[in-house]
């Protein structure tokens, strides 16, 4: 019985290591700022609107429902997807802000970030190429 449970745990942890990919936060290659994890969270929650060097931040999200976005919100923002949704509904319906715009895929994020100096996005770590710079990993 014990063995079976152990077996189940091993299988689950194997499965979850497959599902739970590493998330890389990427910025434009010309972006020389360094960010603390709390800065990444504040940028994606609309609280930090400029990088340490003073240039404006342009965060971009993956589409809601995407696994990588769920991972990012859980690990970087410390919130579940519905908590993030509730947070943004507070901002939107109080006229205080709107959520980052959404792009459909890792490739779209990389294209947008590589073309936009102030952009900051996140992708599955395996999608990263030399067109963008990784500034944090979760």
């Amino acid at each position: 019985m014990k063995l079976i449970i152990k077996g189940v745990i091993v299988v689950i942890s194997l499965m979850s290591s497959v599902v739970l990919a590493e998330v890389a936060v990427v910025v434009n290659t010309t972006n020389a700022n360094s960010l603390a994890n709390s800065d990444v969270s504040r940028i994606f929650l609309g609280k930090m609107k400029s990088f340490p060097d003073g240039s404006s931040t342009i965060p971009v999200n993956l589409e809601s429902g995407s696994t990588v976005r769920g991972e990012f919100e859980e690990k970087a923002l410390g919130k579940s997807s519905s908590q993030v949704k509730a947070y943004w509904s507070k901002q939107v319906f109080s006229g205080k802000g709107k959520p980052p715009k959404e792009l459909a895929s890792d490739a779209d994020i990389i294209r947008f970030v590589s073309a936009t100096p102030g952009a900051i996005g996140y992708v599955d770590a395996t999608s990263v190429n030399d067109k963008v710079k990784v500034i944090a990993k979760y």
Binding site: A86, S89, F93, G95
Partner: protein
Amino acid sequence: MKTKLSMIVLASMISAPSFAADIERNGFASIVAGQTTSSDQEFDGYTNDLTFDNGSIIGLQATSDLGNGLGMTAQIIAKGEDGWDPEFAWAYLSYDFTDDTRVLVGRQRAPFYMYSDYIDVSYAYPWITPPSGVYSLPFDAINGVSIIHSMQIGQFDTTTHVSYGQNSEPTEVLGELVDVDVESVVIGSFTANRDWLTLRAAYAVANVSFYGDEGSSIDQIADLAAIWEGLGYSNIANGLVSNSDQGSFLQVGFQIDHNDWLFVGEYTEVDLSDSVIGKDDSFYVMAGKRFDNIMLHVTYGQDNSAGKLLTSGITEPAFVDLVAATDAAMNSQNEDSNFATVGARWDFHEAAALKFEYTKHSDDLNGLNDADVVRMAFVTVF
């Protein structure tokens, strides 16, 4: 006419294509079903018969970015308890001076409470509606101007919101709809947030006048005041009516949102003590815990309100009836009540949740007002 106009705007908000300006449309809805648990109980619009109207609300918001920091926001809401008549909750122009400073001009939410900014958006908080004892001011919007400034102080993200304006909509006072002039409202609020901790305080002052229709309670109180005035007791007359009297409002609150735990508390004081309305203080504290996509929560709160005794020292036998009527009017606003709520929120969908609540209201001055209310709500944002 007003309804017609807002209907047209509502229809155009739903159907209009977005022209050159970037128009964002968002909406929210709560469908609430509720009733009291016994046939002799009534509370806040709930009776022993199940109703779907009381507390149900739908709202649509359109925000247009006109460029260069200028924006226009309009929000229309329709409430079941108002027969689903749509009304403009907000309509304001905003201008961003900088990333951190925004000015709003027009009809906007009055930032009295922690949840004022999104008070109608049930999806944004755990309860079906915030505790009514604290959230008790009879109006929640002002026409005017405000400045919102965000700033980082140490490790805290802070927001300062200062508003100036007025409100002269018919408002429920003493259980009746009367004309109210709330003028020169100044509201200052300050919110500081760091990770899991949010602290908030607000203070407001305003000049308040009531004008009741013939025969209303407010009108009868005005008649009572006129009699005292005629007898030379203008201090008693002034203590009954509010004729541009200064009222004040104070709020302090906190929110701790740490891992799976949520703790919230708010305390408010409403003071119009130079009138029959008197002084009212209320608080609630709430604790909740998330279990994956379900949150369970409990809330306890109290409301206290006491009218002044205006007639002490008046012993003339001829005034006995007048004194009795005056004391009755002043005492009618006395309140000493409390409530306890247990509730659950289930986020069964990424943009929708189901909520269940059971609330036990106890009135320590009049047990006949005790009531147990059960409610269930479907809430969504879209």
